[in-house]
Amino acid sequence: MTSSSAASSSSSAASSSAATVSRGPDPEPPGPRTGPAPRGGGPARVSRRGRARTGWFFASPALLVIATVTVFSVLFSLLLSFADVRLEYGGFRILSLTGDHYAAVLSSPEWRHALVFTFGFTAVTVFLELVLGTAAALVLERLGAARGWVLAVLLLPWALINVVAAQLWGYLFNGTYGGLTWLFEQLLGHQPDILGQPASAMGAMVVVDVWKTTPFVAIVVLAGLMLIPGDVYEAAEIDGAGAWTTFWKVTLPQLRPIMAIAVLFRILQAFGIFDLPFVLTQGGPGTATESLAILGYKTLFQNLDIGRGAAVATTTAVIVIGCCLLFLRVFRTQADEGGRA
């Protein structure tokens, strides 16, 4: 998706750079790899072309799949979002191309509500997961021999399929026989309606997502921690830095690039959240937990409003791409400043 936005801004530059990249894998001199040393440039060019052909041969099925599954569907969805589509016997007809769907979507209270919920959900969960994941990674790094076991247990929620995790928590939150409801009843003296009230339903959604995805952040950050060279810490120790200073001035700056990757992944996933609210609350109570993805699904598949559904999907994609680009820019500026300081 990022590639298409880049293409629109500077398509010629992008395509030429892509062309350079594609030649990337074989710029090294062909000599040592192609057995007997070739004489002159001729045979080397042939073999390079031959290899390129083999490359294309092997890559073509994947390219074809990507072209049909991804490129085509994204572009088709884009087309539908501008189109006035009428389903009819034997297929469908595009009556006209307009921007009406976007006007209808952007001005609707349902969309604005879903946007606010999705933003809030993304901000809160990504922040919590980053803090908790980093803390977990720091603990894991010091564990030594037990690390493998702890890691395996910690990763279990991440390994679960989203729908299964959501269903599991759905049972725990269930008002009649849910384990958590029972626990709260014992503690508070009354039965709480966890998924039936907006605030607690949103809270529950955050809890499940943090439970499920913190391990992912932890393992990414842990990988980053392992990559920090030991002598940096030795230098910090010689300079007399305490544990806290070392963390803020040494560990954290070193972790920044890998944390950025984790955050980027999480923004992408959290913004498209569908399965969790779909299974846990169906978007309720009221429309409290209706995410953009759920709204798009309902618009398209329940209401059969093809153009508007596609417009919801497209606006969601544009917003999430915008968020990621903004995040990368802010992050890069910060990293540069950090480097200079």
């Binding site: 880049a6 892509a18 572009l75 016997y89 008002g175 009649t176 309606d193 209401n303 919801v312």
Partner: protein, 441 residues
């Protein structure tokens, strides 16, 4: 890459345009001519069918398929297992149909679908293929929901009706009669709850879904408050609508209904009832089979079934939302004649008798309910179905999903105590108007 991004973009758009022009429609007359003739050559149909509730024993769908194949030796029917959740089912089947897929040839769908599916050309209008008096033997409410703009888009298969299930043993212990009004039900439930004999008084469904729309439709009908007027405009307003919403609020406020009802779908309320936690339950007819099943129900043998109560006064009693499932014919089917024949067979006497004897549902053909076999089955929902006053949901608009959402969202807010009945009626009225104008997402 030789394949630049620009090429990909252009290619994708060109392919999109090509696909668009390649999907031009077919004239309806041609389709109906094809549909009027049952082929004599061998053909195989695909029937998209979710699990039909069964009174144990053989799978109901298979029995019907076998009976049809005996009548039409050259035709075969293959089952395609649909999902059990209605909304997920609709998403799956519409995706397939909107892509002009020739299968499934016949699909079993909810009675709320005809207007929407008809308006979007996802179902074949079959009225010209039916005899004039076809609908005489089916409930009038079922006919109303199957038609849109004078065309019939669904053939009746079975109905779901709602009843009030109650604990015979608890009422007997307290010497109380089966309540005939909501006011009486509230008093009875509270008395049994206070005595500590049941955790909950009355269980129903109030989650943000179609389940709640059915419940709201019934409460509104009890209070004689229509949702839409004759012209299809919004009618929801006034003291009747507020009375219905106020009852939903009162049920949770008094603790007769647990507050968690705002997350209940049918299965949740049924589980609480068969687990012995409730005095009364509003549910569809199939719940009788589950409540009477000793292996799944703690209260088997102690359950009674009556039509729903009404409000104090001379308003209607025994109101039930007209639910159920009908067969739709895929207009892209390559065997339209055979598909229509199969859908009609399912609505006919032979298939309806199979449903009566084996399925835990109410056959759509009313006449079979009067047969001695109906009494022999021993299911009170079958014999009492005639006493019900069926009401249709406001489904005669292609925007029904949005109208339904407007209703259930506000009803959920009232039940959860987040809005007063007056506020909720006002908001629902405004939201339904937006929905009917096609402006709601």
């Amino acid at each position: 890459m030789a394949l630049s991004r620009r090429t990909l973009l252009a290619g994708g758009l060109a392919a999109g345009a090509g696909l668009t022009s390649g999907c031009a429609g077919k004239p309806l007359d041609t389709l109906l001519t094809q549909a009027a003739h049952v082929p004599r050559t061998p053909a195989t149909l695909v029937w998209w069918v979710p699990e039909i509730p069964s009174r144990k024993g053989p799978v109901v769908a298979d029995l019907i398929i076998r009976a049809f194949e005996r009548r039409h030796p050259n035709l075969r029917v293959r089952k395609s297992n649909a999902l059990s959740a209605t909304d997920a089912n609709r998403a799956a089947v519409t995706t397939q149909l909107a892509g002009a897929a020739p299968t499934p040839d016949v699909y079993l769908g909810d009675t709320t679908w005809p207007a929407q599916f008809g308006a979007n050309s996802l179902a074949l209008p079959v009225q010209t293929l039916l005899p004039k008096d076809f609908w005489a033997d089916y409930p009038a409410a079922l006919r109303r929901v199957s038609e849109y703009h004078g065309a019939v888009y669904a053939l009746p298969f079975y109905t779901d009706s709602s009843f009030l299930f109650y604990r015979k043993d608890l009422l007997a212990k307290h010497g109380l009669p089966v309540p005939r009004t909501w006011e009486e039900l509230l008093r009875t439930a509270r008395r049994i709850q206070r005595a500590g004999d049941a955790a909950y008084g009355f269980l129903w469904q109030a989650s943000v879904s179609e389940s709640l729309t059915c419940n709201v439709t019934e409460f509104l009908a009890d209070a004689q408050a229509p949702v839409l007027d004759k012209a299809g405009g919004v009618a929801l307003d006034g003291s009747g609508a507020e009375r219905a919403f106020a009852l939903m609020r009162e049920l949770t406020e008094t603790g007769v209904t647990p507050r968690t009802v705002t997350t209940y779908v049918e299965a949740d309320s049924q589980d609480a009832f068969t687990g012995g936690r409730g005095v009364f339950l509003r549910n569809w007819s199939y719940a009788w089979g589950n409540a009477a099943d000793r292996s799944a129900s703690k209260v088997a043998g102690r359950v009674g079934v009556v039509p729903r109560p009404g409000f104090d006064g001379d308003g209607p009693r025994g109101v039930s939302c007209a639910g159920g499932w009908s067969n739709f014919v895929n207009p892209n089917s390559r065997q339209l004649g055979a598909a229509v024949a199969f859908a009609r067979f399912c609505a006919g006497e032979e298939a309806q008798m199979i449903l009566l004897k084996n399925a835990g549902v109410i056959p759509a053909l009313e006449e079979v309910l009067t047969r001695p076999e109906a009494r022999r089955v021993g299911d009170p929902t079958l014999t009492r179905a005639k006493e019900l006053r069926l009401v249709a949901r406001p489904v005669q608009t292609p925007y029904y999903p949005q109208v339904s959402k407007a209703l259930y969202t506000q009803a959920n807010a009232v039940t959860g105590g987040r809005a007063t009945p007056a506020q909720a009626v006002r908001a629902a009225r405004a939201d339904i108007r937006t929905a009917l104008e096609g402006r709601a997402l």
